[in-house]
């Protein structure tokens, strides 16, 4: 479009569509000429939209005119000497014409298939984007991640970070892979405009080479920049370059202030490269001699590129050998620690995502099966209606194979139309997923931006459509082809073939069973999510606004300065009107951040390194418990009297008390944080706060008074009487009145924090909810169609019964009875399926979902009610049958 001409795609499509018309060239030229004029009036976009409209109008008009002028319908009978392919093609055209005449029938089938296929395509697009191709890197299968495998158990036990000293040893010993290390770096960039908090990473100088991405402009890091004092250089992301520096090429070589230190920008990363975690800035990792001694603190992510010819297994073996040697050499820190090497593509996939997507995939396949069952149903019914036509074909010499082929091709035409309809539905579903995902979380979901309807998804759709044709088309076709010629021609379409009933009955059972499975899964999912979002997690999230402040600048380097700043901020906030509570803490409950430490319990020494104790650590100001409404169970809360020079004190959670002082009263006992000399005395026990919904166990937690353990990175929490949203601005003002250079970020109410932490669950519940509703609807429609058909088939019989004096209620009972019997069988089968899927969800979704009887009972009742409603309408119609008409209806 840059040349000012019409939109190329539209023009190309138009040309192709009308190329058979003699004036095609002139038409395209006319539109180009008019587009030229429209551009001046409507502007570029307006003219493009105008062109698309006109092209669509002209093309459809021309095509319709041509179609009308076409020769008559293709012959439905084989033409002698006709080739196989052209015979197929003729059948296809015939099928399309036939379906075009039965718009309602074809429309329902196509819509049903489109919904079923779109559900699958959506999940396939998510799996493709998130699991199979999580990010655009060259040779991603040559990249590995090295994790530490600690002695503990649990979700993350074999996904530990690596200590600096261990990393250096791994790197030196590895022949199979070039290893690099990464460290989180919360970088605040200042100057020019307001301070901005960036996601940054300190990386080994060879980082860009190891990933094989290089830089788009400037240079990467040189080896000597990995030394302390020489590492004040940075590479920025393409996104940051555009956002903050207006894509100014002169930025390279300039100096910017990051974390109040001058950094020279030496390069710009390739567009869209933001590994890891939406990183915006990278700087060389320079380890100090003290850091290089450390084996205890594990905080480096280690990734690597396999050298030519080397396998991941060899890399694993090498690193494992080094780890084993280190475990012997440094038993105090390394005993029980192995390594875990896995493909990077696998390691970046969110731990929950695989199970989550697996469950979704099962559910979508059930939806598709249900759609297929429904369509098969409709086709069986129709085949019965067409029995005369088909019988005539057979009578005139069509082989059984020929009839099957005709029906199969009709099914294929339906499937193709369904797949075409599924494409926009899939696109819309993915848009909805994106809208539901907050950007703060999407950043951490690798590949989220890549998820789209692309050729791979369309190809998958096509394949599924063909497969589903077999599911829904084959049975009806086989059945129709096997009918008795005599019967079909003799009766008025009334069938005495009980096999046909059996098949239809089986379909009702299958539909009910699938629908119940989906509904219960949806119910469990929604209930589980509601539980996570609204259960009592030990604190009250309503009405609390939180925001994070990380002090930057040399004036805040000492603990005294940090304490002074935050204590004054707290005083300011308490002095502000309209607040019910003010507190500061290092971590907000439910947030993705956490801090934990090893602890030593006085009088309970641990001999085995594998049983080392650890606990989550919270640094809080007095008023924290009150502000978050966390109950104090025993002892006392912190007071302003707990100062740096008074007795070091702590509060512990119930779980910590139970686990580390089992059977004893922890108040008055002492513990010590690993690596510190100070013993801290427990002065109180507080209720457990659930920090991560996805850990089934509550973590032991202890609280320290901020005055005795200051930090530079704290969360300000403000509780107001009502909606917390207005508190955000107030909080920012409070901080900036003290120091306008400090960035205030992660501004979120506690409700939002919790809701974001469960975004995956919410998505899952949303998906399952939609699938469940679709299942319910499809099943109801299917049951209705079958019952209506059965009643129509039995019109004669019912008429006879009524004429002979049967009471309407008896007729109703027999008609209804059959539907309900089938429904009941389907419900029993469905309960088994629902239990299986429910248990699977219970296992894969971190126990957020519990199989509970209530959900089963409730949804069985709902589905039963829908089935009864769907059968009662046709059954009542049976009663209104006028015996005279019914008997005459021969």
């Amino acid at each position: 479009m840059s040349d000012g001409g019409p939109p190329r795609l539209a023009e190309w499509l138009l040309r192709r569509l009308i190329r058979a018309s003699p004036a095609a060239d002139a038409v395209v030229g006319d539109l180009a000429e008019e587009h030229h004029a429209e551009r001046r009036v409507r502007g570029r976009l307006g003219a493009a939209a105008w062109y698309w409209r006109q092209a669509a109008g002209v093309a459809s008009r021309v095509l319709v005119a041509r179609h009308r002028a076409r020769r008559p319908a293709p012959s439905p009978f084989p033409i002698p000497g006709d080739s196989f392919m052209s015979g197929l093609w003729r059948d296809f055209r015939l099928a399309v014409r036939l379906l075009a005449h039965q718009r309602a029938f074809a429309g329902i089938i196509i819509l049903t298939l489109a919904v079923g296929l779109a559900a699958n395509a959506t999940v396939i697009a998510l799996i493709d984007g998130l699991v199979l191709r999580p990010f655009p890197l060259r040779d991603i299968d040559r990249l590995i991640q090295v994790y530490g495998a600690g002695p503990g158990t649990g979700l993350l036990a074999n996904r530990s970070e690596i200590s600096p000293a261990d990393f250096v040893d791994f790197q030196r010993d590895s022949r199979a892979a070039d290893l690099v290390a990464l460290e989180w770096w919360d970088a605040t960039v200042a100057g020019q405009s307001e301070p901005e908090r960036l996601q940054g990473f300190r990386v080994s100088p060879a980082f860009f080479d190891a990933l094989g991405v290089g830089v788009a402009a400037g240079r990467g890091f040189s080896a000597d920049e990995g030394q302390v004092g020489r590492n004040r250089v940075a590479v920025i992301s393409d996104a940051l370059w555009h956002r903050r520096f207006a894509a100014d090429p002169a930025i390279i070589g300039r100096t910017v202030n990051i974390e109040a230190e001058p950094y020279q920008i030496v390069g710009i990363a390739p567009p869209r490269f933001d590994y890891p975690y939406g990183s915006d800035v990278w700087s060389p990792l320079a380890l100090t001699p003290e850091q290089l001694e450390r084996r205890q603190s594990r905080y480096l992510s280690v990734i690597g590129r396999l050298r030519d010819g080397a396998s991941a297994a060899r890399a694993q073996a090498e690193v494992a050998a080094t780890a084993a040697r280190l475990a012997q050499q440094y038993p105090a820190t390394n005993r029980g620690w192995g390594v875990n090497v896995m493909p990077l593509a696998e390691s970046v996939v969110d731990l929950g995502a695989q199970g989550f997507l697996g469950v979704q995939q099962i559910a979508t396949l059930l939806v598709l099966l249900l759609a297929c069952a429904n369509v098969a149903n409709l086709l069986i019914v129709r085949a019965a209606d067409r029995s005369k036509e088909l019988a005539l074909r057979v009578a005139l010499g069509a082989s059984r194979w020929r009839v099957i082929r005709l029906l199969a091709i009709e099914s294929l035409a339906l499937a193709i139309a369904g797949a075409a309809g599924a494409i926009p539905l899939t696109w819309a579903a993915l848009q909805a997923c994106r809208a539901a995902m907050p950007p703060t979380v999407a950043r951490f979901v690798r590949g989220w931006d890549e998820v789209d309807v692309d050729l791979r998804v369309v190809a998958a759709l096509a394949a599924l459509a063909v497969v589903s044709t077999i599911f829904f088309g084959l049975l009806p076709a086989l059945r129709a082809s096997r009918m008795s010629l005599n019967d079909a021609l003799k009766t008025g379409g009334r069938s005495s073939d009980s096999g046909k009933h059996r098949l239809r009955n089986a379909m009702v059972v299958v539909e009910v069973a699938l629908a119940l499975t989906l509904l219960v899964a949806a119910g469990l999912s929604v209930r589980g999510t509601m539980t996570v979002l609204f259960r009592d997690d030990g604190y009250d999230p309503e009405g609390v606004m939180t925001m994070r402040i990380s002090l930057i600048g040399s004036q805040y380097e000492t603990p005294e300065a940090q304490r002074a700043f935050f204590e004054r901020l707290g005083e300011d906030a308490r002095g502000a009107i309209g607040l019910d509570g003010v507190a500061l803490a290092n971590v907000a409950p439910g947030s993705p951040r956490n801090q934990s430490n090893g602890v030593e319990i006085e009088g309970h020494p641990v001999t085995d390194a594998a049983q080392r104790r650890s606990a989550d650590i919270r640094r809080t100001t007095p008023g924290f418990l009150e502000t978050l409404r966390i109950r104090l169970l025993d002892g006392r809360d912190f007071t302003t009297g707990d100062r740096p020079d008074t007795l070091p004190v702590a509060l512990v959670s119930e779980t910590m008390a139970r686990r580390y002082w089992s059977g004893e009263d922890p108040v008055g006992r002492r513990f010590r944080i690993d690596g510190e000399q100070t013993w801290r005395t427990v002065v109180g026990v507080v209720r457990d706060v659930r920090h991560n919904w996805f850990f089934p166990d509550l973590a032991p937690t202890f609280y320290l008074p901020f005055a005795q353990s200051p930090a530079s990175d704290m969360v300000l929490m403000l509780r107001g009487p009502g909606d917390p949203a207005p508190l955000a601005a107030a909080g920012r003002q409070l901080v900036w009145r003290r120091d306008a250079a400090q960035p205030v970020y992660e501004v979120r109410s506690l409700r939002e924090v919790r809701s974001e932490s469960a975004v995956g669950l919410r998505l899952a519940a949303g998906f399952m909810g939609v699938f469940g509703l679709v299942g319910l609807l499809l099943a109801a429609v299917g049951i209705y169609a079958i019952m209506a058909y059965a009643v129509r088939q039995r019109t004669h019989e019912i008429g006879v019964r009524l004429a002979l004096g049967a009471r309407p209620r008896e007729v109703l009972a027999t008609t209804l009875g059959r539907g309900l019997r089938l429904t009941a069988i389907g419900l029993v089968v469905g309960l088994a399926g629902a239990y299986a899927l429910g248990s699977l969800m219970e296992r894969t979704l971190f126990g957020s979902i519990r199989v509970d009887a209530l959900t089963f009972v409730a949804f069985t009742a709902i589905l039963a009610a829908a089935a009864i409603a769907a059968s009662i309408v046709p059954a009542r119609r049976a009663l209104r049958v006028d015996p005279m008409i019914a008997l005459r209806n021969q």
Partner: protein, 110 residues
Amino acid sequence: MDTYLGEFEHLVLLAVLRVGEDAYAVPVRAEIESRAGRTVSRGALYTTLDRLEQKGLLRSRLGDPLPERGGRARRYYSVSARGLAGLRAARESIDGLSAGVTLEPKRAPG
């Protein structure tokens, strides 16, 4: 008269005559829209021009390629002798039928 003219075909033939030398689709459409006071969809015009040419009522020739048309030529139309005869016949039949007929609304008796 062996060729019956549809209403829209009639309009198109007249418009081609009116525009004269430069009668390609764009000005023909503008002519109908301004004179007959109705909007004309491009698709309908193109299919009608095509049909009229097939019936032999219109002739067409190609002009020179033009840059603002992406190097494509205009297709200029002119009314053939047969087309003129058709128009004349149509006018005669309309005149004949219109003679002596008042098109004022009739007042209801009483």
